[in-house]
Amino acid sequence: MIPTTYYLALSALLFSIGVVGVLVRRNAIIIFMAIELMLNSANLAFVAYAHEFGTLDGQIMVFFVMTVAAAEVAVGLALIVAIFRSKASIDVDQVNLLRG
């Protein structure tokens, strides 16, 4: 059996890559995809621990996370589309009206 820590390390790595993606990329859709990556890595950790403790609560959690992720993606993309309609661009740097 693979030790749970390995899965955790992998999960952390994926999460970090996702964070970098959120912070660095300017394309809104790519940022969204990075967020999905982060969620996915969390799911991986959940399932790994569920497997370690022999319970299914972790998997139920993942189930819900996925559901929420789906809903979130839908709404987020709808937002991006709406923004694109007004700004003709999906560069998040263009959305800077709150600039002080």
């Binding site: 693979i2 390995y6 970098v20 912070l23 996915n40 569920a50 022999g54 996925m66 709404v75």
Partner: protein, 180 residues
């Protein structure tokens, strides 16, 4: 050096490379496809971890629905190649990398020192462990309320999407074709 271990390493590598690929690609379509690969690998991991139902759901929902949605939107919006980063946010990238390295450092520290390297024991009932029946049992008994709430959440999301993307027919009649 068991098979599982090798498999784990290989799959892990693929997952990380796919993630990096998603990160670094300038073409959005390629990024999306890389992410699909990543999801598929993670689904494989789920299988390894004895969660077949979750693995299938991952493939179906994540790779199948969410990514498809992403691809649709990319193609709708004509994912363009964006300009070079503006000079205003010079520090953004380096600082982000530093912070992420710190995060990795913390995570590594925690993993190395505090988490016991226990191997999970064998499951009592491996077959029925991650089966849909078992999931369903738990889902509809203990987690019934969250289940129903989630359905409400989905409804809200749908309504929101419809509202957000609704085009005011009366005002934007002429613009829709131009816009898109």
């Amino acid at each position: 050096m068991t098979v599982e271990f090798v498999l784990f390493i290989a799959l892990g590598a693929i997952a990380v490379i796919a993630a990096l690929g998603m990160l670094l690609c300038s073409n959005a379509i390629y990024s999306a496809l890389f992410l699909v690969v990543n999801f598929a690998v993670v689904a494989t991991f789920y299988l390894l971890l004895g969660a077949p139902f979750i693995a299938m759901v991952q493939v179906t929902v994540y790779a199948g629905a969410i990514m498809v949605l992403f691809l649709f939107v990319i193609m709708l919006l004509g994912a363009e190649r964006l300009r070079q980063p503006t000079h205003r946010l010079r520090w953004q990238q380096p600082l982000a990398i530093v912070l992420v390295l710190a995060l990795l450092g913390f995570a590594g520290y925690v993993v190395a020192t505090q988490v016991t390297g226990a191997r999970p024991g064998a499951l009592e009932n491996a077959a029925a462990y991650g089966s849909p029946a078992a999931i369903g049992q738990l889902l509809f008994q203990e987690y019934l309320f969250p289940f129903e709430a989630t359905s409400l959440l989905l409804l809200t999301a749908m309504v929101g999407v419809v509202v957000l993307t609704a085009v005011d027919e009366r005002r934007r009649r002429g613009r829709r074709s131009r816009r898109l």
